[in-house]
């Protein structure tokens, strides 16, 4: 028995040695230079992979060089809400480097953004006046703890705030996300199983997956789960999951805490027809002639001082934000009667996303992403593709963010602004054959779109703020990109007995598109003609006539209810108990005495159906209603809480709203959640056609009358004379 055990031991040692050698020989070297961390080619295993198809684009696909590349080293702030400039970020970095609290400590800056001045200071400020003191709001991890600090750029002073006793961690840094994808390779077990599954380690592509919170095991330690894919023969590795292999990693130490290795019987789906890149197609299909939005006199908008957008009757401040993506502030519309610019929104942004997947099995149950608070919705917004993401004549705005060490970097072309004309009609009337009058008056609808596209790993979220000349603002979210799919032994539905056990749809051989939801919660600090507003539910109720009163038995009446406190404004939409949702200024009335207002107009959406006691839903409780209204509070901006990563849900919009504070004639914030149920279908494979949903903010007795009565119609002589590019 002894000898036999020794033999076993020797064999085991030999095997381990082999594995380590194998691993080392297959392991690409990790990045060495921190400054290069944001340069793909320097650190990404798959960026430089042999599988990347070299760009062999036909001539017509050669992209123009970035039309708007700007230098930012000389940027200076012009407006109290302007984001921190490169110079200011460098100042913050230096202040922190030399500050006692940070000196000689390992630290990482998870967020460095402008600490916006108090609202009243911003409202009071006028162009030409000196800016209020410039301050940075910094979230830092120092010595294993999270801190919220204010850095005064003028004085160099650092104020440290209490982080409180809330659960949760700050948004990951890009460095967190990228470096953790390397961590599994330090585990021989991991490497062995990958190789055993037939994947070359050099073909690995791994994703950092936030793991939510389900109890003790996700507490007191910053953790993440890493799952991997095979990049072999396709850039679309997302379609080639190594199913069931989940590596739990400590985000701070990068230590592999645990490996779950299930699903070894599940083949890695093959790569055929998964690569969506144009250069990877062996043929292409031109379905339509070139088409373009053209403005012979150029666009009608201007961007003043880098961030102030002026277009038609609108003006607003626009800035990229690492967490929210874009922030629209001080949106004002011109009154056609008085000519004055009237306040509509003080600040609007994407506050949080919640994306629960509907598969309770081991490798999937925890996928309940909060893309803004966990990954940084703005951090994930990559440069837009001119002529495709945005039409000709678009203006591109860069994001200026800080890396984990405080170094500023530029995310170029992160946001675009353009005018859109789809052939739609602003208003029209023809007289009918009944009256026979010869009237045909039609005005085209032209809008201004602010767009950002965030690629949170596989998914692409296109967020549009669309301004109309009639005062309407449409906030639209488009979903495209690539599904997060699950490997399966099944190659055909005829092998499946119970379709529901798939938790999704068989999209291709061995590929399941798992059912999931998307919720996108918007923060809308409405200031309709001033900060103090009220929220009015205008409920449409069936009313009955008295016997003999009318040949009609029933009709609808509009019953107005002013919300006194927050709980009055926790709204679940009901098709059979409909309401309009008005934000009014109770102190300002139109000529004939209606309160001026804007209404929130929901359109198609989806509600969250998870159980309220389910741990993910406690964290995502901000999606329990479609509409909430809270009194303005500068600390309540992120619907899932400031520190949403691994949070338990003690700091959500629901918690705040349940305090039931007074909201009548107060500075109020409206929250709207847009939802999607996504049952994938084969058309979503290997990349999804865009699906969109939206809601509107619409003037309701805000103007005395139709504000675009006097706009002219299009006439031929205004329109451009165009010819095809000679080179085409």
């Amino acid at each position: 028995m002894e000898a036999r055990n020794l033999l076993r031991y020797t064999f085991f040692l030999f095997f381990i040695l082999l594995l380590v050698l194998f691993t080392l020989s297959n392991l690409p070297s990790p990045p060495s230079d921190k400054a290069e961390m944001l340069n793909c080619a320097a650190y990404s295993p798959w960026c430089t992979s042999k599988n990347r198809i070299q760009s062999k684009k036909p001539d017509f696909l050669q992209k123009p060089t970035n039309p708007t590349r700007r230098r930012h080293s000389a940027d200076v702030p012009h407006h109290p809400l302007d984001p921190l400039t490169v110079t200011e970020l460098n100042t913050v970095r230096k202040i922190i480097q030399t500050h006692d609290f940070f000196k000689n400590k390992a630290y990482a800056l998870h967020s460095v953004v402008l600490e916006e001045p108090e609202k009243k200071l911003v409202l009071r400020w006028k162009k030409g006046e000196p800016l209020p003191p410039r301050k940075a709001a910094v979230v830092a991890r120092v010595g294993g703890a999270s801190h919220v600090l204010t850095v005064d750029l003028g004085s160099g002073e650092v104020t440290r705030h209490e982080t409180g006793h809330m659960s949760g961690y700050p948004t990951m840094t890009v460095e967190d996300m990228t470096s953790v994808t390397w961590a599994p390779l330090a585990s021989a077990d991991f490497n062995r199983t990958v190789v055993e599954r037939g994947v070359d380690l050099a073909d690995l592509a791994c994703l950092p997956i936030s793991l939510g919170w389900f109890g003790k095991s996700e507490e007191n330690r910053r953790l993440i789960k890493v799952q991997c894919y095979s990049l072999k023969d396709t850039a679309n590795f997302y379609m080639r999951p190594i199913e069931g292999l989940t590596v739990l990693v400590d985000l701070d130490t990068k230590e592999v805490v645990h490996i779950t290795d299930k699903g070894k019987n599940i083949p890695i789906p093959n790569a055929a027809n998964t690569d969506y890149r144009f250069a990877a197609q062996n043929s292409y299909q031109r379905l339509v002639n070139p088409i373009s939005i053209e403005q012979p006199k150029g666009p009608s908008f201007t961007i003043q001082d880098d961030h102030l957008v002026k277009w038609a009757n609108w003006e607003f401040h626009l800035k990229p934000d690492p967490r929210a993506g874009v922030i629209v502030s001080r949106a004002m519309v011109r009154d056609p009667g008085t000519g004055e610019m009237r306040n509509v929104i003080y600040k609007g942004l994407t506050s949080e996303l919640f994306v629960p997947y509907m598969d309770p099995t081991d490798a999937w149950y925890f996928k309940t992403y909060m893309d803004a608070g966990e990954y940084g919705f703005g951090l994930q917004a990559m440069p837009l593709d001119p002529l495709n993401d945005c039409p000709r004549n678009a203006y591109y705005m860069d994001g200026v963010f800080a890396a984990a060490d405080g170094t500023p970097y530029v995310r170029s072309n992160m946001v675009c602004v353009f005018e859109s004309y789809a052939g739609d009609i602003g208003w029209r009337h023809s007289e009918s054959p009944i009256t026979g009058m010869e009237i045909r008056e039609v005005r085209p609808k032209v809008t201004l779109v602010v767009r950002m596209a965030a690629s949170v790993a596989n998914y692409d979220y296109i967020v549009d703020w669309e301004f109309q000349t009639d005062g309407l603002i449409r906030i639209k979210v488009g979903l495209s990109g690539i599904l997060m799919v699950k490997g399966t032994p099944y190659a055909n539905m005829n092998q499946v007995n119970d379709q529901e056990s798939l938790y999704g749809t068989l999209l291709s051989e061995n590929v399941i598109g798992v059912i999931h939801d998307h919720f996108i919660t918007f923060y809308l600090d409405m200031d309709v003609d001033g900060p103090d507003n009220s929220f009015v539910k205008v409920n449409l109720q069936r009313a009955y006539t008295s016997p003999g009163e009318s040949p009609r038995m029933s009709y609808l009446k509009a019953v107005r209810n002013v919300a006194k406190t927050e709980k009055d404004a926790q709204i679940k939409l009901k098709l059979y108990d409909p309401s309009e949702f008005h934000v009014i200024n109770p102190t300002k009335k139109t000529r004939v005495g209606n309160p001026v207002g804007y209404k929130v107009v929901p359109a198609g959406t989806a509600a969250n159906l998870l159980d309220n006691n389910d741990p993910p839903q406690k964290r995502g409780a901000f999606t329990n209603n479609q509409i909430w209204v809270t009194p303005y509070n500068e600390t309540e901006q992120w619907a899932g809480g400031l520190f949403v990563y691994q949070s338990h849900g003690e700091d959500t919009l629901e918690v705040w709203s349940n305090r039931d504070r007074e909201i009548e004639d107060k500075d109020i914030v409206v929250w709207y959640t847009l939802g999607f149920h996504h049952v994938p279908c084969q058309e979503d494979f290997p990349i999804m056609p865009t699906v969109s949903a939206s809601f509107d903010l619409k003037p309701v007795n805000f103007f005395e009358s139709n504000p675009i009565l006097k706009i002219p119609p299009n006439v031929e002589s205004d329109l451009p004379i165009c010819k095809a590019d000679a080179s085409a």
Copy 2:
């Protein structure tokens, strides 16, 4: 006492005489020539009114002459579904004129359209083959009775169908609608009260208002209610109601049956700021530079043989229809794999509209319009305004309809077809900073729009059928035009104690916008890869895990239920009990075994809340669900019944569906109702900015994968080089 009575009598006679003289002197002469009935200037009292502002358009507003004016005298049908041509309509007219049944009788033709050949004949037909026999479906009123006839154009045979014992009358003729507006002037009482209210009879504009059915008083006689407005100082007479004055008129004899004369204390609202015409503005406001959709190589669609639209991967037959507006038939999309054209829709159309107003008082309770069946949705579609209703490069299709005597006439530019590009994204993916791969693949979204705008008196309905290259069809309805408003003594809300008693919103001094709903019901004969389909409700249900099974407590599962009979497919949408609605071909599966299908995707909509026993709702019972599915039956096309005017509701979609016929694996028709609640606001005065809602038909496992994977991105060299028109 005797003498005093005589005096009274003499005075009364004298007064009547005066009134008659006054009336005659103020009465414009009615049209004499029937042929001119469709020419505004010849017969309309307000068309030639002194109040019409002469067109003094600035030079840049001079419209080009109709770019597509076509002669139709030589049109011949090319396709079994092509509408009747001018020649064919003349043939029908002659056959009827000389037919025994009509000879020497007064008759009116309420509808003359192609009687479409049996579906199987159409499906079998191939281009180049002779057409199936051409027949006309004729609805005629002969001797006070309604008749449905088939006229065989080849043989000259007339087959008369049973009209049955259903209540209701055919769609009004244009002649009915226009001539009845004169009828009140034959009443001295009417004229007196008009004059007493301070309105010059020459300033009168009157509208024919369908009165629905509320019991005995709306039975056995074709009736209509006429209400009038003052045209003085504005073309927008709709904003100047003579409130409370309702004239009940016999539609056949034009006899005034009854006058209700209430509301004499209600002033006629003044005309200030109501005229929306560009020429009537004393100034204009150019908010944006000219903008245009340009295609340097021209549009990508072709119209073959006048009615067959071919664009990108789509092909469909398109025709104007006097009742439905437009009919889209045989919509097929090309499979990118096999190249074959695959059936999606056999026939789609706007089946009926229902527009109940929410005011139970005397002059308003009956306003419960069914615009297609009562007024003819297509009859009310006026010529589109090039460059404003539709962008440059649009193709305009004319409607060819028959007047009441059978004479064909042309409604030019009634439908347009154009390509739209709004700057939207077909699909996209960027690799995120997490993976760092340098991928940015984006494809622009270009669509094809078929548009019609029906002006049913005050309201304008813009109906779009929008085809996407990814296989999606969006059916969108835009509402614009002018509100139907109510006069009121109130000039300010501070005079109003009970806002609900207004039944609407005070829009301007003495003008109330009355609350109302719009429902638009679409008929969609889906033929997904063939006629026999099934309807599957894919219900998303909250499911619970077993204790210990997963850290997750709940998730959503998709439960498929195939509808066996019609009642299984009577769908009320529920946000908290959501489903997808698939129309599948149960005999055809994808490579991996999913049934091929299209889904109906609702978006924002409104439900009908009237009591089911309310008489209008009995007639509008087809709006009791958002979705219905019926087995194909060629007699079931109009959701409110064939003869909807004054009908009692015995022939609606609800009645048909409640037969609960089998619908599994049958040729089925899907009905979708789009709804709007409209609580007017001041921005809707004096003309409404367009409000839209839509629903989609979307491929769901219809294609093996994303059908537009291989389309190329835009590149600069494809796009046009444009300059401003030198004359601008």
